[in-house]
Amino acid sequence: MSEKNGNYGLRLKTGLAEMLKGGVIMDVTDAKQAEIAEKAGAVAVMALERVPAQIRAEGGVARMASPKKIREIMETVSIPVMAKCRIGHFAEAQVLQELGVDYVDESEVLTPADELHHVDKHAFKVPFVCGARDLGEALRRIAEGAAMIRTKGEAGTGDVVHAVKHLRQIVKDMRQLTVMGEEELYAQAKELRAPYELVRMVARSGKLPVPNFSAGGIATPADAALVRQLGAEAVFVGSGIFMSDSTTFAPAAEAEIRARAIVRATTHFDDPKVLLETSAECTGAMKGLAIAAMAEADMLQKRGW
C-alpha cells in the first residue's frame, strides 16, 4: 500500500481507532449532549448539525456541520471529536482538518458531493472512517486511505437489520478469501472491485487491515451487544440515544440512562447477565422506522461507490 504521508501515516491513523475499540461513539448536536455523552462513558463523539433521524425526516441537503458548533463541542469534552463530511467533498474535509477534529467520517448520511469519487484520504493527515456494506466496498475505501471501516447499516432508522446484514456480509466475504487458492485471488479481486494487494492481505490475515466498527440503526443495549458478538470492534450510536422519535429529542435524563446502558452493554457484550441489567435500565428506545417498509430511494446506504 502506498502512503503519501510516509510510513507513519496509516499507523498513527489506525492507532487512534485502536484506542476507541470496545467503546461507543455517540452522535451529538450540541455541547450539552456532548457533555452527557462523555459523562455516560462515550469514547468519542460525532459532532453534527442534525442527527440522521432528523435529516431523514426533514429532508433537504445535508452538509458538514458548522465549524462554530463543532468547535464548541471540541471545547466542551476531553474525548476525541469526530465530524462528517459529504462523500467526495474534499474541501469540507480540508475545513474539518484545519479545525482540528480527531476523525473525519466521509458519510452517506450527508448528501453526496461527488457521484463517482470519494475523497483521496491519503492526502490528509487527519484520519478518516468510511461506511461499507461488503468487503469490496470496505477495501476500496481502505485503498483510498480510510483508517477505520464501519458498517453502513441504515442510519437514522433505529432498525439494526442492515448493520447486521453488512457486518455478516463483510465477515462472510473475508472468510471466503481465507480458503481460496493464490490463483483464485486475482479473479476474486476483480469480482470485489478491490485492489489485489489488499485482497491478498485479507486472505492471509482473515481480517481487515484497519479496525472494523459498526454503525447504522443501533438503538438499544442488546443491539450493541449483537453487533459486537458478530465481530464489530466498537459501536457508533447515532439517533438512538438522544431521539425519542424522528423529530423529538428524548428528555436528557432518559438519554443519559440509555447512553450509559449502551456503553456498558458494549463492553460486556458477551455477558447476558449484564445485558439483562442494561436492557432493564432503559426506559423506551427511539420509535424508529422499519427498513423493510422503506422505499429503496430513501435508503442512505446506497450512497457511495
Binding site: G22, G23, S78, V263
Partner: protein, 192 residues
C-alpha cells in the same frame, strides 16, 4: 504466572498479543473478581474517562486500587493516567499507585499525534514511540526512575514494581518495554 489486561475498553488486544508473543499467559479483566486470578495487571491505552465509568461501580475502583498498590502494574497512555497520583486537564479520579502527575492531552489533538524515536535506558539503542493524543508526566517524585525521555519530558518511568508509558509500546514492533515489564513481574514473583 498470569498477566491480567484490563479490558474495559481500548487497545487491550494489542497488549494481550504482545504479552503472548513473549510467552506470558494472559487474562482479559472486565470484572473486579477477575483480579484474584492474576499476578500483575496491564492497563491499556483508550479513554481514561470511559474506563473510570466502569471502575466507579461494583467496587472495581477499590479492588483495583488495592491490587495496583501491591502487585506489578503497567499502564500505557490512558493506563498511565489511571496509575498516577494526580491527574490534570481535567482533574479526575485515579488509582494513585505511582508518585507522578499526568496531564491529559498535553500535546494537543490527533493531528499532533506522532511516531518518534528517542533514547532509552533499556538496552538495545533508541526506542520507537507511538504517541496518540498523548498525556504528559508533568511532575514526578524523586524515587521515580526515568527510563526514557523525549524533548526533556519523561515518557517511560518506573517506580518500584510499577511502570508507566505515555506512548504505546503495544503498537510498535519493538518488544523491549513489555520484556522489561515481564522481567519486573518475574522478579516480584521470585522475591515473594
Amino acid at each position: 504466572m498470569t498477566i491480567g489486561v484490563l479490558a474495559i475498553q481500548g487497545d487491550y488486544d494489542a497488549h494481550k498479543l504482545r504479552l503472548e508473543e513473549l510467552g506470558a499467559k494472559t487474562l482479559l479483566v472486565k470484572k473486579p473478581e477477575q483480579l484474584d486470578q492474576v499476578d500483575a495487571i496491564v492497563i491499556p491505552g483508550g479513554e481514561s474517562s470511559t474506563m473510570l465509568k466502569f471502575l466507579e461501580r461494583d467496587g472495581f475502583m477499590e479492588k483495583l486500587r488495592e491490587f495496583v498498590r501491591a502487585k506489578p502494574s503497567f499502564g500505557t497512555c490512558a493506563g498511565a493516567i489511571l496509575l498516577a497520583k494526580e491527574v490534570a486537564n481535567p482533574s479526575q479520579l485515579s488509582l494513585g499507585a505511582m508518585d507522578i502527575c499526568v496531564t491529559r492531552n498535553a500535546y494537543g489533538r490527533q493531528l499532533d499525534s506522532s511516531i518518534l524515536e528517542a533514547d532509552t535506558k533499556l538496552a538495545g539503542g533508541p526506542l520507537e514511540m507511538v504517541f496518540i493524543r498523548a498525556p504528559k508526566i508533568s511532575k514526578l517524585a524523586d524515587d521515580v526512575q526515568v527510563l526514557a525521555t523525549y524533548n526533556g519530558d519523561p515518557v517511560l518511568v518506573r517506580q518500584k514494581n510499577k511502570m508507566a508509558a505515555t506512548f504505546h509500546p503495544e503498537l510498535s514492533e519493538d518488544k523491549r518495554v513489555h520484556e522489561a515489564f515481564l522481567k519486573m513481574v518475574r522478579e516480584a514473583k521470585a522475591s515473594g
